[in-house]
Amino acid sequence: MDNIKITLKQNIRQYGMFIALVFIMIFFQFLTGGVLLKPLNVSNLIMQNSYVLILAIGMLLTILTGYIDLSVGSVAGFIGAISAVFIIQMNMPVWLAIIISLLVGALIGAWQGFWIAYIRIPAFIVTLAGMLIFRGLTMVILQGQTLAPFPNSYTGVSSGFIPDFIGSAFGVTGINMLTILVGIIASVMYVFSEFRSRKEKQKYKFDVPSMPFFIAKLALVIFVINLFTYWLNLYKGIPSVLVLLGALILIYSFITSKTIAGRHIYAFGGNEKAAKLSGVKTNRVFFWVYVNMGVLAAVAGIVFAGRLNAATPKAGVNFELDAIAACYIGGASASGGIGTVFGCIVGGLIMGVLNNGMSIMGISVDWQQTIKGFVLLAAVAFDVFTKKRK
């Protein structure tokens, strides 16, 4: 019981932000006269924020090490530009162009990681330089022009929907069978994994929540999953980018919370000296965090170019700031070692809902910026106050 209390206490910031997200959604649902949560707008919300959320996942890892990456917006723009050159100007197959783009992202990450981890130039400076370098190179490659349009197979990643092949196979109309089925399968998998982890815990003779409590929790989660897929079904079904985003969230949650590599990142950020004296290869950890950031920046670049259906010299400007803000709002600590993937996604969604809600209400961009700034400050101030009270 004490364990549960302490876990709750330590995660209060995250749950707090999650509750804040729910309230902000309800709030805008009223102010926008119910537009915010219309099926069309929910799909929009996901697609509009996907690239910032992808960047936020990578950014979380750099923030866990205690630093940030300022170059990701420029890198995303740069990758969008080279993929446009490959596909539109050189007629390269889309799959090949995407693979090469991802590799270039990894190389950029390795380049910055080398200076940061092995030469130990402060990450702030290296990535500030990267921000200028890759913004400059984007303009060089595009010669100040916009390259468009992309073929459908490229834009499909970010603005397409998964076709309802099950529904069409059985000739069902009026309901998106695939989407509904995905909801059901996800529910079954969730129930299965929860039961397995409960059994494991019992095997170790740990305390587990009582059966009624356990069932209630399962029922709630199943309800939310299926409501969500039902809602998506009311528009065009599952956006393809949601599949990508969902996979990234699952993979990175797993890496950060369950693997040795993830633990090493937290240890590095928590106390680098201690990590080193416990056998963590600190330079290597540091290096790979930036390689990973490069790859995810490339993914975000492709998604953004696909959504815009064009590569422009200004693509990705200020994305880094949104990604960093998402992590901090989601409970990551600026000094490193604290933060979760779930938290940074919640943080990103708070920013996204604010943007979207205010846009629907017709609030001008200048006021949107101002309000977002206050939200960031308030979220972190809340964090500082709760820590002091302890």
Binding site: Y204, F206, K258, I260, R263, A267, N271, K273, I338
Partner: protein
Amino acid sequence: MENVILEMRNITKLFPGVRALNNVNLKVKENQIHALVGENGAGKSTLMNVLSGVYPHGTYTGQIFFKGEECIFKDIKDSEKKGIAIIHQELALVPYLSIAENMFLGNEQAKNGIIDWGQTISKASEYLSRVGLKENPNTLIKDIGVGKQQLVEIAKALAKDVKLLILDEPTAALNEEDSAHLLEIIVDLKKHGIPSIIISHKLNEIEQVADEITVIRDGATIETLVKGVDDTSEDRIIKGMVGREITDRWPQRESKVGDVYFEVKNWNVYDPEDETRLFLKNINMNVRRGEVVGIAGLMGSGRTELAMSIFGRAFGGKITGSIIKDGKELEIKDVGDAIANGIAYLTEDRKSAGLILIDDIKNNISLAAMKKISTNFVIDSNREIQVAEEYRKKLNIKTPSILQKTGNLSGGNQQKVMLSRWIFADPDVLILDEPTRGIDVGAKYEIYTIINQLAAEGKAVIIISSELPEILGMSDRVYVMNEGRIVGELDKANASQESIMRCIMQSNREG
């Protein structure tokens, strides 16, 4: 009878759970050099912090009289105003400012907030010549050696019109020549009417310059020796410093010492900052199975650096020599290799180099051996909890939960978490650096018991400690280190506080 310039009367200072000073009395006379000696942790620094206002009036009991007036210092500024200047072991100079700028830092030669550089430089030159330092006042502090920096500190004190100078281990970081010069300057200042209090471990220097010597032990004044009246030889001072009876503070252990198991041979380690400077010189040592070996030495003697250089080259630039375990030479390139080869090192500084204070107990325990609870690099978190619970019970870590952040634990419990980490890594050789620093007596006893158990299991244990009684109480054999060398090896029968101190003093004399 000479005039007393400073008198500290019945000073008592309490820290939570510890009586750091107990009715300490100190009298310093005009035109004298007064030495304050005692072991590490005896209370010398605490006493000087009381005097200089680091611990303000009201946080201690007792009275301070300076030049006949009672002093009530609220902070360091107050004591500086009276002319009491303290020069700490770690110098308080700004490396990228010039000598002159440092000398007048907080005491700027200025009119209406605008610095008068002409006056600054000319005054700086004047004070520099008084301390015999021939340097351009515009030279940056980082470009002059530690010895000269020490002199700049003294010049800085003179610039503030110092009436009493306090020097904490002024020669600890200096070579012989610089030390001699510094001592000359102090004697010269005395002749010009500025008395000083000097804290030092180098008893030969004290014997040479001090007029009176006050010995502090366990937070109490033991005696004051007057030159020319009492015996002020090194041996006499040592007796005063360590003269405590060793009581039964150590759990009994029947040592079953086996064959030589772990050896360090011809170990030379260069300074990582300065590739030409040999930091550890030709170290040879060994540990047997089931043996507890102590490494004694003063602060800065190289004990920690030796341990860290053995532990996967965590200290040092170029390193030569070999490490042999169980007859086989080990190939160790980094800390990971050292752990894989069964070596563990418990750091002396658990807060900055040991624990991840923002993380919980369970993650801190598993940190060095996560592979033991993982399959395919995926951590079994249930197993991890089980391990943590096991060590919580075994080592009696007092906490409501293993999910508690280690930063919230007391020192003793933090130390137990560190020990758990290394015991869980299941090493053959354990190097414990200051295993009981800053923890209470009860927890100390528990940790000694754990160490004894480890030895009984046949592990080779090395203990580094600044507390000589601890070394003597725990070790089967003691190596004495001084200035990067091993200067003595004593078996249990011959090891005593006096013999260890004698090894150190002798090597100092030989230089």
